[in-house]
């Protein structure tokens, strides 16, 4: 009797495990376009702060970070950069790069997304407002393309990973029964 019960528990755990794995993979695909959109919103705010208000980066980054939830990568990126910039002699490029590395665990962006942002950070703060604006426009255009691609990938893979996880779970349970 106890043995049958244990068998059921083991099977349940196995199923939940593999299905959870699948859902987790699927979540990455679901979150990426949302996060890309979030970063684009933040960058548009940054553009307004630079082009219109001429707000210095630490103030602007701090302000923008407040608009996003604490657990989002966008919040982490902007808040951390602002924090690092309060230390004397820190350049925006370095602060942004460090923050980008630390925000990694909070989001589902691909390595290419991150390297595009890193590329963008090279120009941040070191030209006049017109050039800052055009470099933000460039990264926005690139992120928009990436977002489209992320949506396609999500549509294709989200379901696949979810069902695969479930199916593998079922398969293993059946095989090991």
């Amino acid at each position: 009797m106890a043995l049958v019960f244990l068998k059921w528990v083991g099977a349940g755990a196995l199923f939940v495990g593999t299905a959870g794995f699948g859902f987790d993979f699927a979540k990455k695909y679901r979150k990426r376009p949302l996060e890309l959109r979030e970063i684009m919103t933040a960058l548009r705010m940054l553009r307004a702060d630079i082009a219109y208000h001429r707000l210095p980066l630490p103030e602007s980054f701090f302000k923008i970070s407040g608009y996003f939830s604490d657990q989002s990568g966008t919040h982490q990126l902007f808040a951390k950069t602002a924090e690092l910039l309060t230390t004397s002699g820190t350049e925006a490029e370095d602060a942004f790069a460090v923050a980008l590395g630390q925000a990694g665990e909070f989001w589902s962006l691909s390595a290419e997304d991150v390297s595009a942002l890193r590329q963008f950070s090279r120009t941040i703060g070191n030209t006049n407002a017109v050039l800052q604006e055009s470099s933000i426009n460039a990264i926005l255009a690139e992120l928009a393309d990436r977002e489209k691609e992320a949506v396609t990938e999500r549509d294709r893979f989200e379901k696949v990973y979810r069902t695969t996880g479930v199916l593998i779970g079922v398969l293993m349970v059946v095989m090991l029964w």
């Binding site: 630079i50 001429r54 210095p56 980066l57 910039l85 004397s88 002699g89 350049e91 925006a92 602060a95």
Partner: protein, 314 residues
């Protein structure tokens, strides 16, 4: 209002660690007399005032550190200031910049590149320094008239102007009541405004137009702030002189400053020449850096005749 010490936090934060450590080793009286910290590439740190050269040779990364901190790593935010060759810190301190000038297509300055030296000027609040000046302007409390301070750079004009704003705005003796003062602070230097709050005491009844070009500021103030006195720093261009002439006719008292070593030099500047001919300025006050900054050397009347007995009677 807390008194601002000579080496305030904003300045120490600006300096790279080795430089600030070296500054700390100086004697108090030396720091007390320091008016400028000068950093020049390949040369030693220079404290103007006690004329000390600290044993640290400035490398490009020192200047980079100062500039990054100064601009908060946001060049676009100080674009206009950079074109004029200086950036104002919170606290009213000003950092002058020298480097390679990049010209715009129309001949104006586009930006500065390859920064080679920085001049950190410490803003000082010397309360009471403008008492004599207030007397001169108020003519012993009869009718007040416009005045123009002139003197060479670093003779203490701005410090005097700052204290004058305080005396007039607070209505301290020799005044009998506070006057409505508008301070047009184009370089954020007189009031040292940070986030809209003046860092220096510029008087209770004083409004500050921060970062505003003088000619525009005078019109703005006249239209909406009903000033009795307008105070502005460094009037030089023909445009400024026109605005001043306009203002003097509007029944507002103006106190301004101009760079000039003496009366002859003053008159050689076209804007000032017109202004003196119009007799709109009741008192021309020559300021000297000797024996110490802020000393009133000579006073002239509207016809630029020297007033001998300005110490006690008008």
């Amino acid at each position: 209002m807390q008194k601002i010490s000579l080496f305030p936090k904003e300045i120490m934060q600006l300096l790279p660690e080795d430089v600030s450590r070296s500054v700390m080793t100086c004697q108090d009286f030396e720091l007390d007399r320091t008016t400028e910290i000068r950093l020049r590439i390949g040369r030693r740190v220079h404290l103007v005032g006690p004329d000390l050269f600290l044993p640290i040779t400035i490398e490009p990364y020192h200047l980079r550190f100062v500039l990054t901190t100064l601009t908060k790593s946001s060049l676009y935010a100080v674009d206009t200031e950079l074109k004029n060759g200086y950036i104002t810190l919170s606290g009213g301190h000003r950092v002058g910049i020298a480097g390679k000038v990049i010209l715009h297509q129309d001949g104006g300055v586009q930006t500065l590149r390859d920064i080679s030296s920085l001049n950190i000027r410490l803003a000082k609040e010397v309360q009471g320094s403008a008492k004599t000046l207030a007397f001169i302007i108020s003519k012993g409390n009869r009718q007040m008239g416009s005045a123009m301070l002139f003197g060479p750079p670093a003779s203490g004009k701005t410090t005097l102007l700052r204290d004058l704003a305080r005396i007039l705005g607070n209505g301290e003796p020799p005044l009998q009541r506070p006057m409505r003062v508008v301070l047009i602070d184009e370089r954020s230097e007189i009031a040292g405004t940070a986030n809209g709050v003046p860092q220096f005491d510029v008087g209770m009844a004083t409004d500050v137009l921060d970062g505003c070009p003088k000619a525009i500021g005078m019109t703005l103030a006249l239209r909406s702030l009903s000033p009795e006195v307008i105070i502005a720093d460094e009037l030089g261009g023909p445009q400024d002189a026109l605005a001043v002439a306009d203002l003097a006719k509007a029944g507002v008292i103006l106190v301004g400053t101009a760079h000039a070593g003496n009366v002859q030099e003053l008159l050689a500047r076209s804007g000032m020449h017109h202004l003196s001919e119009s007799s709109l300025i009741a008192r021309w006050v020559e300021v000297s850096a000797l024996p110490r900054p802020g000393t009133i050397a000579r006073v002239y009347d509207s016809q630029l005749r020297e007033v001998k007995s300005w110490h006690w009677s008008f």
